[in-house]
Homo-oligomer: 102 residues x 4
């Protein structure tokens, strides 16, 4: 088992400029997979076990192709750490703590 | 003038594993620049004029170096469009509309 | 089966500023996995079956942690397409063709 | 002056699936700017002074829009360091040295 935090951004190509429907389909994939996830304007932050997270990313590609996009381009930021457990919320909280101390 | 939306993720290298203080310094740079910005667990979404946004990104590198990091690695997602004006909030709202129609 | 082309960039954190040894270890992981791969100054381009490629990416995280890095940050560009088969070499060749026509 | 190394990947949206012509146009922008650059299957590595590099990235967006793409999505990896001067070639050579010592 290896816990991972991911920022996923899926871009369908050859599918026009309105991508909201494709992104919504990916959100449903993450929801169905039971993964903790949070949409932001440039992607979706996800946390979970490595294999479950990447199975869901693969499923997103499959779903977006099935919706008609001939090409899918995805960017991922992927983080693992062995020193301690850190959730997505911890990451934001740490920055806010430092801002509060300013 | 060219409006741009950016997802910025600054990673100091050679500066240990606790990066919250560096990220907080970058948030202050964006605040001081008067740019619309919103922190998320894997970066910060920014919108503004191209030159103002990239001047702030450069300033983040300078500030993180000044804090002692010998090396800075940054990832950026950068979006421009000529068909219409779309804010960061519009992007999330579009996905939510599609999810609501499911 | 789903073929994928990936640009992988692994950044160990809390491991100093000299990252060449870690990257070399990741190259060996890709080599041992029998994946087609090509190092460039900012990452490694890989092509292969989705599951084999992502198993190797996971193995890279494990190996870099085992070498002593408490935190690993990776960026990935991931491409799939259903319209036709395109190798990494095809992508560069297509651009060169266009440049030759200039 | 701040030297920067960048991995640039420009994706036109709403412009079909054959992107080679757009990428070739970006290569010409980098060439005209006199920047050191090297195409790879998933982007182009560039090195130069910060302001010259990012002026060229902006020019790429303008050129791709002028060619008809209503939306441009770009990913960038950006590196600066104050400890020493490192070229793009040094980065690859460092990994190869480690592989030779294996």
């Amino acid at each position: 088992m290896m816990k991972v935090t991911v920022d996923l951004c899926v871009i369908p190509l050859g599918a026009g400029v309105s991508l909201g429907g494709y992104i919504a389909a990916c959100e449903r994939v993450l929801e169905d997979a039971g993964l903790s996830h949070e949409l932001h304007p440039y992607g979706t932050n996800i946390e979970g076990e490595w294999d479950a997270v990447f199975a869901a990313v693969r499923r997103c590609h499959e779903v977006v192709h099935d919706m008609g996009a001939p090409r899918v381009f995805t960017t991922l930021k992927v983080g693992t750490r062995t020193d301690r457990d850190q959730s997505l919320q911890d990451k934001v909280a740490s920055v806010h703590r430092h801002l509060g101390q300013a």
